[in-house]
Amino acid sequence: MPITYTSGEQVEVYRFSIPATIGIPLLALFAQAFISRHSTSFSYIDLPLLITIFFAMARRNPISGLLTGAVIGLAQDALTGLPLGLYGISKTIVGFLASSLGVKLDVENAGARVLVILGFYMIHASVFFMVARGMVSLSLTWSWSRGILSGLANAIVGVILFYFLDKFKQRT
């Protein structure tokens, strides 16, 4: 089904079991840390971001979305040596925007998901860049080509991942 504009009542709202709600983000964090150890190029893939987008869009609740983003982002921060909040702030905003978009749009097909993930990846990267440069004074350089390529890679991985995660959705 392509992107469709619907009213809030028409879109389907999903929920997840408690094990899925806790286990999937934890698994994403674990996979991110573990696979990056073997392949440094995997660190361009942001599994916690993909999980944030998926949960936020499926639940279609902005508060739930921003809290999911905040928790996953802070957990991701805790694994790095960086100050807590860099990923937390970025993912809070993405979670809020994704769930707000989810209220308006029903994104089920692969093409739409690629575009949505690419867009949120760029938003996440730009918020992270601003916070990291502005508040923590990390020496980062912005690269459009790198951002778009990473975004596309995340989008492709995201489409595959969402396909499997769809199986955990429970109708309300």
């Binding site: 934890l26 964090l29 674990f30 991110q32 840390a33 573990f34 990056s36 150890r37 440094t40 660190s43 361009y44 902005p62 508060i63 921003l66 809290l67 905040a70 802070l74 957990a75 991701q76 805790a78 694994l79 790095t80 040596g81 960086l82 100050p83 807590l84 909040g85 860099l86 990923y87 937390g88 702030i89 809070t92 905003i93 809020f96 707000s100 916070v131 990291a132 508040m135 923590v136 004074s137 990390l138 020496s139 980062l140 350089t141």
Partner: protein
């Protein structure tokens, strides 16, 4: 009012959550020295939730790998074994040469009251995970507080340095790699002896900073730790220079290829104990140069005077065994011939003289000290004033060892041939003869 709050409820909560995080971030940045410690609780929760899985998976991975390589896939092991044996033989030969050089260097360092840091104790650890972010180059290892690890301990491999411990948890630790942009290591270039600071960049490269642009640095030069950061002991391999270009602010832009492949770390060593000690395991009290030489150079107490004469060649005025020790000690004159050049011959002569004049602490000839032919060095017969050729009361710190030190300085027990036959040159590569 209620309707406004209800209408913008989501936005207000978003702003509130963001405000809290920004506030937390600001507090951490302000306490930048120890920000990771301030947020320790959250980090412990996450690390405790993630690392058991990583530990389990690494265990399965390593067990299955060792099962395969140690019991099943043994193709080529015999050939490899033969090659390794040959390699061991070659390395043994090399070791003999190097140990000679090392012991010589240690003795010279000891003369200068030089202190070195030695690696006293290490703990082997396995890498179980990473930060998962390309902006934070750090890995997790399976050893922590319970194993005696502490913050800022150095982490190395057999190839070179890896990083330092950033955070310690009960059973795991986070290691900040040298290619992280927040890391810094004091290093020295092996040949040019230029000192600089090694830093990581945001794209994971390693660069050497603080080398002035008028210095000559060639690609391929090795980089070692300088010990100046008080984390890594001096002399550990860091990497090699790959690219040199002019940077900004009058400094060179030097790229380094790390000696250790930081993207494929599996096992590492954590330096849990370092020792500051003298290079040789001897009494570290303040020795005078002559004392040290007297202790180490060979003695020939039971030889008749004629033999001593023959041994020392022209050293006819060496303190004779039969002569009173005290007199010899207080009035010993340099015994080398006029053409003495600070070669092993000179040292030998002096050693013999000192042997019979044991406490001649302040009577080391200048020729021996400087290692250069001394115009003031005269045969003993012509030496009316002993003080002309003596360095009296000079502290050992000021003593400069000879440029080409005598070979019998190399070993506390020199070869007998070197003691008895003056015409036989010592077996050192830099023998001036």
């Amino acid at each position: 009012m209620e309707s406004v709050l209800g209408r913008y409820r989501n936005l207000i909560i978003l702003v509130g959550v963001l405000f809290l995080q920004v506030l937390g971030l600001a507090v951490q940045v302000k306490r930048s020295g120890n920000d990771a410690e301030n947020t320790r609780l959250i980090r412990i929760w996450v690390v405790d939730a993630i690392t058991p899985f990583e530990r389990g998976l690494v265990w399965i991975e390593s067990t299955s790998s060792s099962l395969w390589h140690n019991y099943i896939y043994l193709r080529g092991v015999r050939a490899e074994n033969r090659e390794l044996k040959q390699q061991i033989e070659q390395m043994r030969i090399e070791q003999v040469r190097l140990s000679e050089d090392a012991s010589q260097a240690h003795r010279l360092q000891n003369l200068l009251a030089f202190k070195e840091q030695y690696i006293a104790k290490t703990v082997a650890a396995q890498v179980i995970g990473s930060s998962g972010s390309d902006l934070s180059r750090s890995v997790y290892i399976d050893k922590g507080e319970d194993d005696g690890l502490k913050r800022d301990m150095a982490v190395i491999t057999a190839d070179g340095i890896v990083g330092k411990i950033l955070l310690v948890y009960p059973s795991t630790s986070q290691v900040l790699l040298i290619n992280d942009q927040t890391s810094g290591v004091g290093v020295i270039l092996e040949k040019s002896r230029l000192q600089g600071v090694l830093r990581g960049t945001n794209n994971g490269e390693v660069v050497l900073e603080r080398i002035m642009s008028d210095e000559q640095v060639a690609p391929g030069e090795r980089v070692l730790t300088s010990g100046g950061d008080q984390i890594f002991p001096k002399g550990l391999p860091v990497g090699t220079v790959t690219q040199v270009s002019n940077g900004k602010d009058l400094f060179l832009n030097i790229k380094i290829k790390p000696a250790t492949d930081l993207s494929k770390l599996e096992e590492v060593l954590v330096l849990v104990e370092k020792q500051d000690r003298e290079p040789v395991a001897e009494d570290s009290s303040h020795h005078r140069a002559a004392d040290i030489l007297a202790e180490r150079l060979p003695s020939v107490p039971d030889k008749p005077p004629a033999d001593v004469k023959a041994t020392t060649g022209t050293a006819t005025n060496a303190a004779k065994p039969g002569s009173p020790v005290k007199t010899a000690a207080t009035t010993t004159t340099p015994t080398q011939p006029a053409n003495a050049t600070g070669t092993p011959q000179v040292a030998k002569n002096h050693a013999i003289a000192n042997d019979h004049a044991a406490p001649a602490a302040s009577t080391i000839p200048k020729a021996l000290i400087s290692g250069k032919p001394s115009s003031t060095t005269k045969p003993a017969a012509a030496s009316a004033k002993p003080s002309d050729n003596l360095q009296t009361g000079t502290p050992s710190k000021a003593v400069v060892p000879p440029a080409n030190p005598p070979s019998n300085l190399n070993s506390p027990k020199p070869a007998p041939a070197a003691q008895t036959n003056p015409s036989t040159p010592p077996q050192t590569e830099d023998n001036p003869q």
